[in-house]
């Protein structure tokens, strides 16, 4: 008897050990739900006094404290105009954002308005979870035509519109002037002006700058294979490669063009002109000649580093330049309790006036804001001319990185096979073939 008791006890304990992993997400959900209900049940006395029904909206962001403070300010202003509406801003860390939003949406506890990135859109848009907001196009006061069309593509499906972008930073090359001068090299901007700023020149400069024994490297694209879609996509594009075919039904990376792009990257790694995979070396240490990053990173380096730097446009590859732009937008979840009010608020924070306000942190999509003197001259450095050449003038021709409802699985397959290439355990061609074989079924 006693023995069976002990066996039973160990079974029960094992069950406990195993479930430790799954418990977390569920508990969080419960908490979020409780919060929301709580919030709905306790509107402030002031609002309750209004004749209109009190409305509490929730907006989720992955932003910084300063950005949240700005949104809180906007919410307060909105509350003055519409005393029955209060908006709460919730922060979800970037790393967990998509996962958390997906679970909240599945359990019908999602925020009303959400920040959303291009990777997340297909999952929620194709899942029918986002609200069609095409009606903003008819609102004359909103001036929809002011928004640069290339920044809207990610939100368009079957003639409907599912969100409004708030930040679409083009990618640029940050370069360390001191390192270029110390090695007697022409800067990327000089090369660009001579019409000679190509990936070949970029590789040459990287190799000249690199001194691995001193911890100095020429260029950094990515830290881990899993970041490939951030910074290898532009390289693949420049060489004439694509990720998918036009209607995203076929995987398109298994081409000599993509192989060339990846081999160029691998060559930099092999020659130690690029920090090893996994290395956490960042541009602000002054030990990188160049870094491929979104233009919004200027605020992270401006007045914060002790070396001279500037930005330049992306180099040209065999097939010219295809400018990748980062993406952040606002969407509304269909299950929102007050969809109309949520839409009104979305319009409020993305109208001309407030788009200019949030442009403190982001690259605006409204031409009237982007090319306003106020925006362009906000910071003395990098200069207006540089910013225009490197970033803004290319925005209209920019392309948002591709995505797919199955992106997470596709991403995983590319990462695994890219690891195999970088480890040298497979040839680039074979790995690209393997990617194709495992990814095509995911696109069906």
């Amino acid at each position: 008897m006693k023995k069976y008791g002990l066996v039973l006890l160990s079974v029960v304990l094992l069950l406990g050990l195993l479930s430790a992993c799954g418990g977390n997400g569920k508990n969080n959900n419960g908490a979020a739900k409780a919060n929301k209900e709580n919030a709905n049940n306790t509107p402030s006395a002031e609002v309750a006094a209004e004749s209109k029904e009190p409305v509490e909206l929730e907006m989720s962001v992955w932003g910084s404290d300063a950005q949240v403070a700005l949104y809180d300010e906007l919410a307060e202003e909105y509350n003055k105009l519409h005393p029955n509406v209060t908006v709460k801003t919730t922060v979800i860390p970037w790393a967990d954002y998509q996962q958390k939003l997906a679970i909240m949406a599945a359990t019908k506890t999602s925020p009303d308005i959400v920040w959303i990135s291009e990777r997340m859109i297909p999952q929620f848009m194709n899942g029918g979870q986002l609200l069609d907001i095409s009606s903003v196009k008819e609102d004359a006061a909103y001036a929809f035509d002011d928004i640069i069309p290339s920044t809207l593509t990610a939100f368009e499906k079957d003639g409907k519109l599912y969100g409004i972008p708030f930040s679409t930073p083009p990618q640029v090359v940050f370069y360390n002037k001191n390192l270029f001068e110390a090695n007697g090299l022409k800067s990327p901007m000089q090369l660009y002006e001579e019409g000679n700023w190509t990936y070949d020149e970029m590789v040459k400069a990287s190799e000249a700058i690199s001194k691995p024994q001193e911890g100095v490297y020429g260029v950094k694209f990515i830290q881990n294979s899993s970041n490939w879609s951030d910074n290898l996509i532009p390289l693949i594009w420049a060489m004439g490669g694509e990720i998918f075919n036009e209607d995203t039904t076929q995987f398109a990376m298994n081409t000599p063009e993509t192989a060339k792009a990846i081999n160029l990257f691998k060559g930099l790694l092999d020659k130690k002109a690029h920090p090893s995979i996994g290395e956490q070396l960042t541009f602000d240490t002054g030990k990188l000649g160049m870094a491929f990053e979104n233009v919004t990173r200027t605020s992270a380096y401006r007045d914060k580093v002790d070396f001279e730097w500037d930005i330049a446009p992306l180099p040209e590859g065999d097939h010219g330049v295809k400018m990748p732009i980062g993406f952040g937008g606002y969407s509304i979840f269909k299950d929102a309790e007050y969809p109309e009010e949520a839409l009104e608020y979305l319009k409020f924070i993305s109208n001309k006036e407030n788009a200019a306000k949030v442009a403190e942190f982001f690259v605006p999509q409204r031409e009237s804001v982007l090319y306003s003197d106020e925006y362009l001259n906000k910071f003395p450095f990098p200069t207006v001319e540089t910013m225009k050449v490197a970033a803004y003038d290319r925005l209209a021709k920019g392309t948002i990185r591709p995505s797919h409802p199955n992106w997470v699985k596709i991403d995983e397959q590319v990462t695994l096979n890219l690891d195999a290439i970088l480890l040298g355990s497979t040839t680039t061609e074979q790995a690209l073939k393997n990617m194709e074989d495992s990814i095509n079924p995911l696109l069906k």
Binding site: L6, V7, S10, V11, L14, L15, G16, L17, L18, S19, A20, C21, G22, G23, G25, K26, N27, Q99, A102, I103, A106, Q123, G127, P212, Q213, G215, Y217, N224, S225, S226, P275, S276, I277, G278, E279, Q280, L281, V408, K409, E412, T415, L416, D419, A420, L422, L423, S425
Partner: protein
């Protein structure tokens, strides 16, 4: 006897019984609601194709069959998990026993050393992982810096199919060795001194003393430490998540990491639940085997 029991005693007994249940109610209720309920639910989920967005449908054993027969990554994760356990368990137990023997002596300042070796146990696993990730980083890491100083060629510790798993094993062993050392210390202190005196009189060597007295006397502790360490090593997740993210390739995908990826990255909750129950049965079987073999291994003082 049975009929002659005074009525008062019975009520007292049942009163005590109810008080007892009342006292364990919080933990039992917590266990039922937050652990046992979800576990039963996960078991049900493992027979569905629930993927968070789609509709849930009962698909019988398909998840289990897919894992065993068609999923190439699943067997990789099993092999990797076994590799991790086979590396970690002996290393951890030998190291902790050696340390316990070393730190058993009563010399001045020994508390300091015991504390130093125990400290990693109370450090957060994530912090521990991040720090060691820096130490083992390829270009700027301390280990490769030392190798370079002595003229060797650096090794990509955390980006290599050969080296990454051993690195994670060593880092995990260093983290957990303190706990097992404390258990061994306690067991070593319980070995009666007169045995050692007797062996001294008989002229036994140090090795003979260890083999014939120390080891048999601490087998219950060794048994317990082995079970705990094996189970712990099969559930490894944190250090993999922080240090390697499963990479390079799938070379450090372990079972719990794969379950996590399936559930919370790909949202395949049904499949992830099935994987969790496969892991559960593996651990269960291992534990039952160990339990059966216990009698042969463990020497209890009569």
């Amino acid at each position: 006897m049975a009929g002659g029991k005074p009525a008062g005693l019975a009520t007292l007994k049942s009163k005590e019984m109810w008080m007892g249940y009342l006292f364990i109610l919080p933990i039992v209720a917590g266990y039922l609601i937050f652990l046992f309920g979800p576990i039963v639910y996960a078991f049900v989920m493992s027979f569905t194709n629930w993927s968070l967005f789609g509709n849930k449908a009962y698909i019988g054993l398909d998840n289990y069959i897919y894992a065993m027969r068609d999923d190439p990554v699943f067997w990789d994760t099993v092999v990797n998990t076994v590799y991790f356990s086979a590396g970690l368990v002996p290393l951890n137990i030998v190291l902790s026993l050696l340390l316990a023997m070393l730190l058993k002596r009563k010399i001045w300042g020994i508390g300091l050393f015991r504390t130093a070796i125990f400290t990693p146990v109370v450090v957060s696993l994530v912090v521990w992982g991040i720090v060691w990730k820096f130490i083992f980083s390829t270009d700027g890491g301390l280990v490769n810096l030392l190798i370079r100083t002595f003229g060797g060629t650096e090794i990509p510790w955390l980006f290599s199919e050969t080296w990454t798993m051993p690195t994670v094993i060593v880092v995990s062993a260093l983290k957990g060795v303190g706990m097992n050392m404390v258990i061994f210390l306690a067991a070593l202190h319980d070995v009666p001194k007169d045995y050692y005196e007797a062996s001294k009189i008989d002229g036994a060597s140090r090795w003979e003393t260890f083999k014939s007295i120390t080891l048999p006397m601490i087998t219950p502790a060794v048994f317990m430490v082995t079970i705990i360490t094996v189970i712990g090593s099969l559930k490894v997740f944190g250090q993999i998540y922080v240090m390697t993210g499963g990479g390079p390739g799938t070379s450090t995908y372990v079972m719990v990491f794969y379950i996590f990826k399936q559930a919370f990255r790909s949202y395949e909750f049904g499949y992830a639940s099935a994987l969790a129950f496969i892991l559960f049965s593996i651990i269960l079987v291992l534990t039952l085997i160990q339990w059966k073999l216990r009698k042969r291994w463990v020497h209890y003082e009569q």
